[in-house]
């Protein structure tokens, strides 16, 4: 197996040197800083539809790593605001259509950088506009949320809506009770949640549903023991976590599973040591970045979710992460006030 991709890096056997348990902080910072300079790679252009998400992932990773200044604040804000549409929604990059997924990333970045004054300067009434864009995507009958005007519904969008609106103190703009009711209808017999009523349980969707209920203050509706059991079964002998029964482990599930366990006070039901060892095996200690599995190509998506997972289980030297928002706890505390 071609898992080993360089001396001292991922994929080698157990019994490693203690350095194997060290997070390569400087390399990860450099890796994230380098992301916008890779314009000579086709991949850079093919992933333009993820640019604003990517910025949120990179920025959050840097904050958790304790290097919040590593991306210039003004440049980030200028880029974010250049993605905004007249209707209050944001696209993935300038010229891309507005969609819930990018609007949420924009709000998360604006919150992290405390940039709402800059927003109001450029777009007077901008915050209220964003709130209206999101509120208009709620189906007032079912409580569910669409991703954009084309109407696809998914608990990912509902979660995003509650996440962004709560950060802006605009939750009143939507019918939270109906949204909560919809999430409750997505629960399955195994204790997990799906993308909609009747959809199979999936760790990513569990995160969005548990996150939405937590933000709405209705985690009392969760069957904690049953869900906790299902989530804890996601840990495999190699320490990694999977998304569904009988699937492979993947670093991004470190976040979705572990944060959900944290929100229902069951994080101790998995082995933090083994999870930590797995995530660290997935990092590229030489060039920075974290991959889905040991020896695979790194990307900023798995980098932030790996680091956030490590923060959750208390890896030394990292800023504390908020499990419901995937943002630094210091930031959500400031934005939400005393949370």
């Amino acid at each position: 197996m071609s898992l080993v991709s360089g001396p001292g890096r991922g994929g080698a056997d157990d019994d490693k040197l203690p350095e194997e348990l060290m997070l390569s902080v400087d390399q990860h910072v450099k890796y994230i800083q380098s992301l916008d300079t890779r314009k000579d790679e086709l991949e850079y252009w093919l992933t333009e539809h993820l640019r604003l998400n990517g910025l949120y992932w990179g920025l959050t990773a840097l904050h958790l790593l304790g290097h919040p200044e590593a991306l210039p604040r003004d440049d980030v804000l200028t880029f974010v605001l250049s993605c905004m549409h007249d209707n209050g929604g944001f696209g993935a990059a300038p010229g891309h259509d507005a969609h819930m997924l990018y609007t949420v990333s924009a709000v998360q970045i604006l919150t992290t950088l405390d940039g709402f004054d800059e927003l109001e300067q450029k777009v007077p009434g901008g915050k209220a506009k964003i709130g209206r864009y999101i509120a208009n995507l709620q189906d007032r009958e079912t409580g569910a949320f669409a991703g954009d005007e084309w109407g696809e519904k998914d608990t990912r969008f509902l979660y995003g809506a509650l996440n962004a609106l709560s950060l802006m103190h605009l939750l009143d703009a939507v019918d939270v009770d109906k949204a909560v009711h919809h999430v409750a209808a997505c629960a399955n017999f195994d204790g997990g949640y799906g993308a909609g009523p009747g959809a199979e349980s999936h760790s990513g969707q569990v995160f969005t549903c548990v996150g939405a209920l937590t933000i709405a203050g209705r985690s009392d509706l969760i069957d904690r023991d049953r869900l906790g059991a299902w989530l804890s079964e996601r840990q495999l002998p190699n320490g990694g976590l999977n998304g569904r029964p009988e699937k492979l482990e993947d670093v991004c599930y470190s976040w979705w599973v572990a944060s959900s366990l944290a929100m229902i006070d069951r994080l101790h039901w998995i082995s933090a040591d083994r999870l930590q060892a797995f995530i660290l095996k997935c990092q590229d200690a030489e060039l920075g970045g974290i991959a889905d599995r040991p020896g695979d190509a790194v990307d900023v998506f798995h980098t932030v979710f790996g680091i956030a997972g490590l923060s959750l289980i208390g890896h030394p030297g990292l800023e504390e992460v908020d499990p419901a928002y995937c943002m630094p706890k210091a930031v959500t505390r400031r934005a939400l006030g005393g949370r």
Partner: protein
């Protein structure tokens, strides 16, 4: 930017001048095409040439969601509510364009979404028979997709959506003809048979077990089944899962479904008609639970190292003590032993079993 399963390239592999040039050329071509399409989108051009350009771009990059939006605007313009024969571009054309993309990118949300959108357009603008034919074809397509990857999340979700649409169309259809609702019911029966087929092919297909748990209560409702028929169904599901567990007691998909059946005995579990096969009486629950415990102990003798059996023993006897309080002190000692066994067998979840043991002690004292 979010890659899965792509091997890391070693830092010592410096790209050659030739490969660098080739990459640069590809970037120029791609950006030229993207700029051209975006320019046309900005100008609001909704002609067939623009449509072909979006085809070209989306084939290179199906994640480019804005271009799917543009494409829908073009299609809305090209395919208004007129008969399809008068148009040079049809729903068939669009579905055919999407097929190879779906096969190549089965996990791309936007392609699945777009396909649903196209079919919904056909719904509103074509005669019922024609629309029905489209949706029926989809069932065949998604079966092929699931034959390639039997756990594809999008595939199963799409399947349930297609079935929902077919049911809605059929019931309208039947009402119009004044006949019974048989065909709607037939769809649910067929879907149930499909899950049986998928499970027979591969026991470990949790997606199929999950769908089965949703279909059975609906199927019984459709049949207007009484208690006897429901009981027969419940017993046959128990028999099916027992057979499967004897085949592979290490398969967690099976244990989840087993757990779903066990929940039927649990008085603490809120029973709702949409998730329940049968509501057993207290005596029936006790009878079945006793049988279940015997069977699990037997399984345990053969497979002493299988933690799933101990988990099921814990679950089963916990419910048993709820149903029949008299069993509490006889089962408590066993429960404690099984929970300790789980702490040994399952070190990853050690603290979960510790919590369960502590909970047991609290319950027995109360």
């Amino acid at each position: 930017m979010a890659s899965h399963g792509i091997p890391r390239v070693s830092s010592s592999e410096v790209p050659t001048e030739q490969s660098r040039l080739k990459e640069a050329q590809k970037i120029v071509q791609y950006r030229h095409l993207a700029d051209l399409v975006n320019h046309k989108y900005g100008e609001g051009q909704l002609d067939i040439d623009s449509l072909s350009l979006t085809s070209k771009l989306l084939t290179k990059n199906p994640e480019y969601y804005s271009i799917w939006n543009y494409r829908r605007r073009i299609l809305q313009h090209l395919m208004p509510n007129s008969t399809p024969t008068t148009n040079s571009y049809s729903y068939e054309n669009e579905l055919k364009f999407l097929l190879p993309l779906l096969i190549q990118f089965p996990k791309c949300y936007w392609i699945w979404n777009h396909r649903v959108w196209v079919l919904e357009q056909a719904d509103t603008s074509l005669p019922l028979e024609a629309a029905l034919a489209f949706w029926r074809e989809e069932l065949g397509l998604v079966s092929k997709m699931l034959a390639r990857d039997s756990r594809n999340f999008h595939g199963w979700r799409y399947r349930r959506l297609v079935v929902k649409h077919l049911e809605a169309l059929c019931s309208n259809h039947d009402v119009a003809e004044g006949s019974s609702l048989r065909s709607t019911h037939q769809i649910v029966e067929d879907e149930f048979d499909y899950t049986t087929k998928m499970i027979e092919t591969n026991l470990s297909n949790f997606s199929a077990w999950h769908n089965r748990s949703l279909l059975i209560p609906r199927l019984l409702d459709n049949r207007q089944a009484g208690r006897d028929e429901r009981k027969v169904m419940f017993e046959s599901e128990l028999a099916l899962i027992h057979k499967a567990l004897y085949t592979d007691p290490y398969d967690q998909s099976l244990w989840y479904y087993h757990n779903y059946l066990l929940q039927h005995f649990d008085p603490a579990q809120q029973q709702s008609a949409t998730t329940t096969i049968y509501s057993p009486s207290n005596e029936e629950s006790i009878h079945w639970l006793r049988h279940e415990l015997d069977l699990l102990r037997e399984l345990c003798d053969d497979e002493d190292g299988c933690r799933w059996i101990y988990q099921a023993l814990v679950e089963c006897s916990t419910i048993y003590t709820e149903v029949d309080r008299d069993t509490q002190h006889t089962l408590t000692r066993d429960l404690q032993l099984w929970l300790q066994k789980l702490q040994d067998l399952d070190p990853l979840r050690f603290k979960r079993w510790k919590d369960a043991e502590a909970g047991l002690l609290v319950r027995t004292k109360a």
